[in-house]
């Protein structure tokens, strides 16, 4: 039996303002059990650091260059306890929906910070005990971070870009450059400029996040950008394919064909 040393928590601070990081750093250094693993000044750095370092705690600003805090969360899909830190109080509901541990409003004092930290530690200890117990092993039932983010998206506002991550690299697909999306098991393949990017998300949650006047679910597994559709051709006895401008052929289901017709006849 080894000496039960107190576990060190590793924290990452993400904020584009040096002074804002400084406040968090100052409050965190009062806790010897916490080690600051990295400080990031923008969304890309945050995704890279969190995927590489797998910290226990993330203090995340919402408005940042490159990626906002919610997009970062969507990409990292981390088990870390995330505390959102922002001057805007109107993100609170979204923060709750993406399972953030707490929501710190700038400027905040030491007491408020301590409360957030305590809550984060509780979340971490309950999560680690859940991992220990064998009964709680299949934790894959939880929706993916992208699905959560899609659900948390403000209503009547459609996506204008989709961030995707490949290892520690982040790509941003502007919605106008998305040709189609294809469901592949737990993932969707986003096809843009003849490249495919994989993302862990269900096709239904992507569908609900896209502007229905520009994107159509033509098949159980396919959503197409309507601007890319060149023509629809019959295929076999009573099914159809959609031919895109770049020649790609996508299957169209019977219900999808009805929807397409309805759209084209309008």
């Amino acid at each position: 039996m080894t000496q039960p040393t107190e576990k060190k928590f590793r924290a990452v601070i993400v904020d584009d303002e040096e002074l804002a990081r400084q406040v968090l750093r100052e409050f965190l250094t009062m806790h010897p059990e916490i080690e600051i693993a990295a400080e990031c000044a923008n969304g890309f750095e945050a995704v890279k650091s969190v995927t590489e370092l797998k910290p226990d705690l993330v203090f995340l600003d919402v408005q940042m260059p490159k990626l906002d805090g919610f997009e970062v969360l969507e990409l990292i899909g981390t088990n870390a306890a995330v505390v959102l830190v922002t001057a805007h109080d109107n993100y609170a509901i979204r923060a709750f929906e993406v399972h953030a541990v707490d929501y710190l409003l700038k400027p905040f004092g030491c007491d408020r910070f301590e409360a957030a930290l305590t809550r984060a530690k509780e979340r971490l200890s309950s999560a680690s005990s859940a991992v220990m117990s064998p009964s709680a092993q299949p934790a894959r039932l939880a929706p993916s971070p992208s699905d959560l983010a899609a659900a948390a998206r403000p209503p009547a506002q459609y996506l204008d870009r989709i961030p995707v991550r490949d290892g520690t690299k982040v790509f941003i697909i502007p919605i106008a450059k998305l040709d189609y999306a294809e469901a592949q098991d737990d993932y969707i393949a986003l096809c843009s400029e003849s490249k495919k990017h994989l993302k862990q998300q269900t096709i239904s949650s992507l569908e609900s996040a896209l502007d229905p006047s520009r994107f159509l679910r033509i098949h159980r597994s396919y959503i197409v950008n309507l601007e890319r559709v060149a023509r629809i051709e019959p295929y076999g006895k009573d099914s159809h394919v959609a031919v895109l401008h770049n020649g790609t052929q996508l299957p169209v289901s019977r219900a999808g064909y009805a929807r397409l017709r309805e759209f084209l006849d309008r």
């Binding site: 002074l19 804002a20 406040v23 408005q63 260059p65 490159k66 001057a87 700038k106 905040f108 870009r161």
Partner: protein, 356 residues
């Protein structure tokens, strides 16, 4: 609601106006008509007052056929038909009245006398009705111009209200919260800098406070407001903000609406610089030429960040305020070129002697 029938203070002068006409009618009945003077008086005056009431109906037909919209044919037909109907009823009334009078011994000849004059009476009725039509058209025109004046005044008040609301909304609370957060960071690491930032922030707030009541301020004042705003933002963003100015000296005394440019600069910071990892520059250009002042605020931005993060309420406000003040004498253009975002304003240069 009838403008005369529904208002006693208008009805009485209106009926008094009919008295001279009734004198005329008495004369017509007596001299060319051949009625005795007593018969002419007894019939003429009540008939004329009655006709005064009957002609009030002309107001409705005038309102249904407005002069500026109805065609000449519609106009003629409507009012001629109205005249014939109303005048027709009038001579029926005259006959009935004469019949009532004939039971008195003094008036036993009135009925045959009147019957001879019915065409004369009918013609007079038509003319009088048309006179009433003309009168009501004048009345309608007066009413309309009054309403237009009232509307204009209301619109002016609304525009001013909108401006005041815009001014109040413009000091962005998030700017305050973020600045306070920076101060909170500095209090332990660099107390002197924290104090300096408190002073900068106080300076900016004090300048904005008094501005709401003023209709216009010299450009110089607006510029110093912008500089104190940027001084605060520079503490937050450090080297990420660079400022370039290219300002004509003789533009400094031009009067501009307060907080017209500050939102543009704030916009440049919030939607431009703050989305750039390395930051960028804000360029302010002001030129004054031939009584026109041109102002341009240009900033770098991240073309990859979605468009909803650019522009917004601040810009819409500025555009609206320019439009209410100068109409189409002012222009407001937004242009993006590569990674530069540019808002350009042109407006008449109000100098102090003209502004006061």
């Amino acid at each position: 609601m009838h403008p005369i029938l529904g208002n006693l203070r208008r009805l009485i002068p209106y009926l008094l106006g009919w008295l001279p006409l009734s004198g005329m009618l008495v004369y017509l009945l007596a001299v060319p008509g051949g009625l005795t003077w007593i018969e002419a008086f007894a019939l003429g005056i009540p008939l004329c007052l009655l006709y005064g009431f009957m002609c009030l109906s002309a107001w409705y037909s005038c309102r249904w056929t407005p002069l500026d919209r109805a065609g000449a044919l519609q106009l003629t037909l409507t009012h001629l038909l109205g005249a014939i109907v109303v005048s027709g009823f009038w001579i029926l009334a005259a006959k009935a009245l004469a019949h009532e009078f004939s039971s008195f011994s003094a008036f036993n000849g009135v009925e045959p006398h009147l019957s001879k004059n019915l065409p004369l009476l009918f013609g007079t009725g038509i003319l009088l009705y048309l006179l009433a039509v003309a009168f009501f058209y004048v009345l309608l025109a007066v009413q309309q111009s009054q309403e237009a004046k009232e509307r204009e005044m209301k619109a002016g008040v609304l525009a001013r209200d909108a401006e005041l609301r815009a001014l109040k909304a413009q000091v962005n609370p998030h700017f305050l919260f973020n600045s306070l957060n920076s101060i909170s960071a500095l209090t332990s690491s660099d107390p002197a800098k924290a104090r300096e930032m408190c002073i900068l922030l106080g300076d900016f707030l004090r300048r904005t406070l008094g501005l709401g009541e003023k209709a216009a301020i010299p450009l110089e004042e607006e510029l110093s407001l912008i500089r104190s705003f940027l001084a605060v933002e520079k503490v937050r963003f450090g080297a990420r903000i660079q400022m370039e100015e290219n300002i004509d000296k003789d533009a400094l005394d031009v009067f501009v609406p307060p907080l017209l440019l500050q939102p543009l600069v704030e916009n440049a910071v919030v939607h431009g610089i703050s989305n750039l990892v390395e930051g960028g520059s804000i360029k302010l250009e002001i030129h004054s030429r031939n009584g026109t002042i041109s102002i341009a605020v240009e900033n770098s931005f991240d073309p990859d960040s979605p468009p909803r993060r650019r522009g917004g309420v601040g810009l819409a406000n500025v555009r609206q305020r320019l439009a209410t003040r100068h109409g189409n004498l002012a222009s407001f253009d937004v242009k993006t070129e590569g990674d530069r975002y540019r808002v350009a304003i042109k407006m008449p240069a109000d100098r102090p002697e003209r502004a006061s």
